[in-house]
């Protein structure tokens, strides 16, 4: 085994142990497990829909999923009644508001509730026109799959992995500065670039284990809402295996991408808040950036790799629509290569900093 590889493994051995068992990293586990809890709860409620729906009116006619799905926002009350009949339960209110000229007006608001075999539908009507549609109860597989994709893209990648990697990778150097123990590495017969690579790989392994475990548990939790036949059909006929592999792969790539960025941040900045805020804004603003600048963003590549595209729901403000939109997606092959190249460039830039790194604990 080459000397560098032996040294990288020695660094990883030290770092992985510290990362997994650090008391200050406890919040990362909580962050990773939060979506698991959400999907587990959702699955439990979905499977036990009838138990939660205790206030079902007597003698109500249960509608089919097709009937419930036929309702669209923008439909009038008369159209709804023509489709589904009078609602078994309804509630009307008068709301005070303002018109376009900022003059006070009164809006007639009505909640109409219909009950189906698997779920109930709550329609929010304003002046007799359907605004939002809320569904409660046993979700269809497609709905759950879509919900999973939404949570994965907008909570798990952008927040959980983002901040988890911030905690793990910023600590690799900055944490040791604070603990006043970094000098032991710098006094060892190891090239500083090798030390950098060793620490980065240790961070990738630790974060990938934590977050791919979370992704796996989330998938198990969301699939547990369905019977064995549905799950079997998903894996055998509906590209389930490739979707699961894609989610796990995106998780690992997110750890690599954000890890490299925050490792650099830990070398350059004393306070992690500033680089974290800057990267968060940069990532959120990705859809607004010119084509060339988009490529210097982790989320640009990750969005292209997510197996279930998430579309903006009708009525969403334009700014949020931009965040949701995939922009100009690239092929999976290019996305993987692009993200790895981005991480490599960031690490290469870090080598210049670490070569000249000085220990000055008193200013930390």
């Amino acid at each position: 085994m080459s000397l560098w590889l032996t040294q990288i493994l020695a660094v990883m051995r030290l770092e992985i142990k510290k990362t997994f068992f650090a008391r200050r990293g406890l919040w990362i586990y909580l962050l990773a497990l939060a979506p698991v809890a959400i999907f587990a709860l959702g699955a439990f409620m979905s499977r036990n829909f009838q138990v939660f729906e205790t206030t079902l009116p007597a003698g109500v006619h249960l509608l089919t999923d097709e009937q419930l799905d036929s309702v669209q926002s923008g439909m009038t009350r008369a159209q709804i009644v023509a489709l589904l009949g009078e609602p078994p339960r309804t509630r009307t209110r008068r709301l005070h508001g303002f018109d376009q000229d900022n003059k006070p007006i009164i809006v007639q608001q009505e909640d109409m509730r219909y009950y189906g075999e698997n779920r109930s539908l709550i329609l929010d009507l304003r002046d007799g026109v359907v605004g939002s549609i809320m569904s409660r109860g046993r979700s269809s597989f497609d709905q759950m799959s879509y919900a999973f994709a939404t949570v994965f893209q907008f909570f798990f990648i952008r927040l959980a992995i983002f901040f988890g990697c911030l905690g793990i990778f910023m600590n690799l150097f900055r944490g040791e500065m604070v603990d006043k123990s970094l000098h032991y590495y710098l006094l060892s017969p190891i090239r500083r670039e090798v030390l950098l690579v060793g620490k980065f790989l240790a961070g990738v392994v630790a974060s990938a284990v934590i977050f791919t475990t979370s992704t796996g548990l989330q998938l198990i939790a969301y699939l547990s809402a369905f019977d064995a036949a549905t799950v079997s059909r998903y894996f055998n006929q509906d590209h389930g295996t490739s979707q699961v592999a894609a989610y796990l792969g995106v998780t690992v790539l997110a750890c690599i991408g954000y890890g490299s960025v925050f490792l650099g941040g830990g070398l350059l900045f004393r306070n992690p808040i500033f680089p974290a805020a800057a990267v968060l804004i940069w990532e959120a603003a990705n859809p607004l950036l010119p084509a060339l600048l988009k490529k210097f963003s982790v989320i640009y590549y990750l969005k292209s790799l997510c197996p279930v595209p998430v579309a903006a729901p009708p009525g969403m403000p334009a700014l949020f629509k931009l965040l949701v939109s995939s922009g100009d997606p690239i092929s999976a092959y290019l996305a993987v290569l692009g993200l790895l190249a981005l991480a490599a460039v960031v690490l290469w830039a870090c080598t210049f900093k670490i070569r000249k790194l000085e220990i000055n604990y008193t200013t930390e």
Binding site: A10, L14, Y185, Y361
Partner: protein
């Protein structure tokens, strides 16, 4: 470039506007060399420059011909026990020594053997499997010393290595330094305890305000401080006769009778002429029990050159 010296070539270090060290030129040969000076005089800065923990603003540092830009070679030869009293979290004493040995690329068995050997040398085998964070100050100091010597360095750099050690362990640790020096290694240490520096050092480097004010063998440094008369104690059978003889010499600045009337304290501005005179005195039949300088130790030299500016010097 190959050399057996530690060389500071016109080295300066500034922390912003604050001076760390300035225009340091040193060639340090093997043996025990002590850095002496008050707090803030630049001792730790010099050691950190030597090991690349900080970079010089100007000048160049080489250790046995190697620069700090070659850590993979340099730290096979150098061990540094710094003043930073911290350990990586969660490690036992043994894991601490062993883990950093593994970074050199040695195999596990060799690292294990070297780690235990170093731990034995500092006498901490029984405590080696306890968490380092729970050690007493003295134990932490010894375990950090074990880590710095575990790879058998040729250059051992020690920042206040005797701090926190009890008298018995101090003497054992000093013996350890001596054994390194005896094997031809460089031992560069800083200390505030001047009498210990005096006992163990082959040479000293006196520092003040970021400057090297004197360096070399302590007796040689003392002899070069011409503005301070040398103090010599003579024990003899007829001190009165000798005192009257000394008063005839223009280089004798002061003569004082010892309270037991069996000795004299002489202050001379020309030690060479004084010792020539003493040869004549002995040849003329005066019975001399002893003739000994009393201010050629580090403490006196330090007082003369730096003047007790720092209360912490003892």
């Amino acid at each position: 470039m190959s050399s057996d010296q530690i060389i500071f070539d016109n080295v300066s270090k500034f922390y912003g506007d604050v001076l760390g060290v300035n225009r340091v030129n040193l060639s340090i040969p093997p043996g025990i060399t002590s850095l002496v000076g008050p707090n803030g005089s630049g001792k730790t800065t010099l050691m950190n420059l030597l090991t690349g923990l900080i970079r010089p603003s100007r000048g160049k540092v080489t250790v046995l011909g190697l620069t700090v830009d070659q850590p993979e070679k340099l730290f096979k030869l150098v061990g540094y026990c710094s003043q930073f009293d911290a350990f990586p979290k969660g490690l036992t004493g043994y894991e601490f020594v062993n883990s950093y040995l593994r970074l050199s690329g040695r195999d596990a068995a060799e690292c294990d053997e070297l780690a235990w050997k170093a731990i034995d040398r500092v006498g901490l085998r029984d405590a080696a499997h306890r968490k380092a964070a729970g050690y007493s100050k003295g134990m932490r100091q010894r375990m950090r010393l074990a880590q710095s010597i575990a790879h058998n360095p040729r250059v051992l750099i020690l920042d206040e290595p005797l701090n926190g050690l009890d008298p018995l362990v101090r003497s054992e640790t000093i013996a350890l330094f001596r054994s390194f020096a005896k094997d031809g290694c460089h031992v560069l240490l800083s200390s505030h305890v001047l009498h210990e520096v005096d006992i163990i050092s082959d040479q000293v480097i006196l520092m003040n305000g970021g400057y090297v004010v004197a360096e070399g063998n302590i007796k040689g440094v003392r002899s070069e401080i011409s503005e301070q008369p040398m103090q010599i104690v003579i024990r003899c059978d007829h001190p009165n006769t000798l005192a009257s003889r000394f008063f005839e010499e223009d280089h004798i600045v002061e003569v004082r009778m010892h309270h037991d009337k069996k000795g004299l304290l002489i202050k001379t501005s020309d030690p060479d002429r004084f010792f020539t005179l003493m040869n004549h005195v002995a040849l003329n039949g005066h019975k001399l029990e002893s003739v000994a300088p009393v201010d050629d130790d580090v403490n006196s030299v330090y007082e003369y050159l730096i003047g007790g500016e720092d209360e912490t010097i003892s």
